[in-house]
């Protein structure tokens, strides 16, 4: 909306490009100087805490640097990367990170169906939206502590329910290599579901009711209406949730750090950021850690690029 204005101004400028520098009035130059001053702080911050660290990471990733020894005297080329790619722990934590993403489609499907239910504008449904959203705004550390307690082997909520229902003792959720992943997926889906619901609900409310009324007149079944109207028209929202969840999924750390000790049994719960933290801050291998950070940055960059490249092709819009 607002971008029209900036576009107009651009056109004004391009009408007489030659006068751009020579003909600029004193007022315009003054305005520009003030504007640059106003945006200076975020820019200095960007240079110091973003641009510089990224360049630094790339350089340090080629050094056997520990923070105590010299960065430049220990340059080792691509040795860190070779070590990372041949490290079993790297692949294990990468695999776990991807396994946790099973929760993304589950959360999206649940979120879409719940949002569709809420979109029927049943009185009182607003309060329910709030209840679904509470986990999202809750402190991640606090709810991680809570879920570690819920999954407690002897006294936790889950195993108490299982015992009350079946009389048998439930699984050792956090002490088993497979169950810990199931537990994490359940927890993460619970934490993020509210966001998907709110986003889908907003998407659904944007679909004109006439579409459904017309389809009903044509005798389309509920499933047909879902398949040909709802699903395609919320695809921009689905795409947005998918991309942001993928980016978020590669950054899972707090859950693992709070709910397990040393990444769980045989490192079975560790994620890629946990592995990075472990190497850099527990083992002091800062150069090696920077290598993992660079790999992580490349992954996020690829997802973002993928987002820009395919959004227009795959996502159907109202027009």
């Amino acid at each position: 909306m607002g971008d029209n204005k900036t576009a107009d101004k651009k056109n004004d400028k391009s009408k007489n490009p030659k006068r751009r520098t020579s003909g600029r009035s004193f007022m315009a130059i003054r305005e520009e100087r003030w504007a640059w001053l106003f945006i200076a702080a975020p820019f200095i911050g960007f240079m110091l805490f973003m641009a510089y660290p990224i360049v630094f990471s790339v350089i340090a990733s080629c050094s056997k640097w520990t923070g105590i020894n010299s960065l430049w005297d220990n340059m080792c080329g691509l040795e860190n990367y070779i070590a990372i790619f041949t490290d079993e722990k790297f692949w294990k934590s990468m695999g776990t990170t991807v396994i946790y993403m099973i929760g993304i489609p589950i959360g999206m499907i649940l979120g879409l169906f719940i949002a569709m239910g809420m979109n029927r504008k049943i009185p009182g449904v607003r309060l329910l939206t709030t209840m679904y959203y509470v986990p999202v705004v809750s402190s991640l550390v606090a709810v991680s502590i809570l879920w570690a307690w819920v999954f407690n082997y002897d006294y936790g909520l889950f195993n108490s329910i299982i015992k009350a229902l079946t009389g048998m003792h439930g699984p050792n959720w956090l002490g088993d290599e497979v169950m810990i992943k199931v537990a994490m997926i359940i927890f993460m889906t619970w934490k993020g579901l509210g966001t998907s619901i709110i986003l889908y609900l907003a998407g659904l409310q944007n679909i004109p009711r006439d579409y459904y009324e017309a389809a009903e007149l044509d005798g389309a079944s509920a499933w047909d209406r879902f398949k040909h109207i709802t699903f395609p028209l919320v695809s921009p929202v689905s795409f947005y949730i998918l991309v942001t969840s993928l980016i978020g999924g590669f950054q899972v750390f707090v859950e693992v750090q709070v709910m397990t000790t040393n990444g769980g049994i045989n490192y079975s719960a560790a994620t890629i950021v946990y592995y990075l933290y472990d190497k850099a801050f527990s083992n002091g291998q800062l150069g090696y850690g920077c290598g993992i950070a660079v790999i992580l940055a490349i992954i996020i960059f690829v997802i973002t690029a993928f987002n820009f490249m395919f959004q227009n092709r795959w996502v159907k819009t109202m027009d």
Binding site: F49, Y52, S160, K163, L199
Partner: protein, 313 residues
């Protein structure tokens, strides 16, 4: 930090104003009246409502269980039987938590980060948003896009160099590593305030300038008051993001005396779980969650709306 903020952050632009506009509810009412419900549909509504309500109860149940556990005696917790109602109700754990020096210092440290960050960071962000929305200068769009791209960069990617930088500057024995970077501005906030400012007519500025108002004066006297709603929402979401932040404080704060609240409750969890004092752990976590939950319940409409808008854009 990124994840929480990203989740919490949201736009608050003219779209919100549209939602709030007085004629919006009228149109929905008309639509409701026009559409007569069949009996089958009404039954479907009831069934769906019940299903949604069951789902909602499942969602909040762990949190209820958390509060319940904080009031239970050790005997009840360790009985292994499924029980939700604390019997007897024990409130002693809350006073025990609040009596712990480390817990109180955690709250104070968190506030010491919050106040300067929101004041200074809020100022620099809104000033930059004003420049991007209402002023003309070369490279405006390119500079803005460069800033915006940084939202995508996860904190994990930059944390090692930042840690080394802060250690070299001797910041790691203070709260400075958590405060100073944010004081330079928050990109999401700049983005959403800029969106909001596009909805305010620029003529106001031209008129003010004719009256001899400086650029800073235009920002301070005219646009800052006009964007205060969006500004408030953004500050609140940022407050919640800082309150819940964990990764940056664990890395940058070596000294226990500097720990923020989230780091403190995490250390309580590892320390008291060995003693099976789950009531204390839960009481500490409940208190740590309260401020953001109170904010959420008070301002849920704006928060939910702003999250919703972020998806449509």
């Amino acid at each position: 930090m990124d994840k929480d903020i990203k989740e919490a952050v949201s736009p608050q632009g003219q779209d919100t104003a549209k939602v709030k506009s007085p004629d919006a509810p009228k149109t929905t009412k008309v639509r409701f009246r026009r559409k007569r419900m069949s009996k089958g549909e009404r039954i479907a509504d009831i069934v769906i409502f019940i299903l949604l309500a069951i789902g909602a109860v499942i969602m909040v149940f762990p949190l209820i269980y958390m509060v319940a556990t904080s009031f239970m005696t050790k005997n009840q917790i360790l009985s292994g039987h499924l029980s939700i109602m604390p019997d007897p109700i024990l409130i002693g754990k809350y006073s025990e938590v609040l009596g712990k020096g480390q817990f109180i210092s955690g709250i104070i440290n968190t506030l010491k980060v919050e106040v300067p960050l929101l004041l200074i960071g809020g100022f620099t962000s809104s000033l930059a948003a004003f420049a991007f929305a209402k002023m003309n200068f070369r490279g405006k769009n390119a500079l803005f896009l460069a800033l915006l791209a940084t939202i995508m960069i996860p904190f994990a990617v930059t944390m090692i160099p930042q840690y080394v930088l802060f250690t070299k500057l001797h910041w790691t024995n203070s709260l400075a590593p958590l405060i100073i970077p944010g004081c330079f501005g928050n990109v999401s906030m700049i983005f959403f305030l800029r969106q909001n400012l596009f909805g305010i007519p620029g003529d106001l500025m031209d008129a003010a300038k004719l009256d001899g108002c400086s650029y800073f004066g235009c920002y301070w006297k005219i646009f800052l008051p006009l964007m205060k709603g969006a500004f408030g929402t953004q500050l609140m979401l940022w407050f919640m993001g800082i309150w819940n932040d964990y990764l940056a404080p664990t890395i940058f704060l070596r000294d226990e005396k500097l720990w923020t609240l989230q780091v403190v409750i995490r250390s309580f969890n590892s320390y008291y779980a060995i003693q099976s004092d789950y009531a204390l752990i839960m009481a500490a976590s409940v208190i740590a969650m309260l401020p953001t939950l109170i904010l959420f319940f008070t301002f849920q409409r704006v928060i939910v709306e702003s999250v919703a808008i972020s998806g449509i854009k």
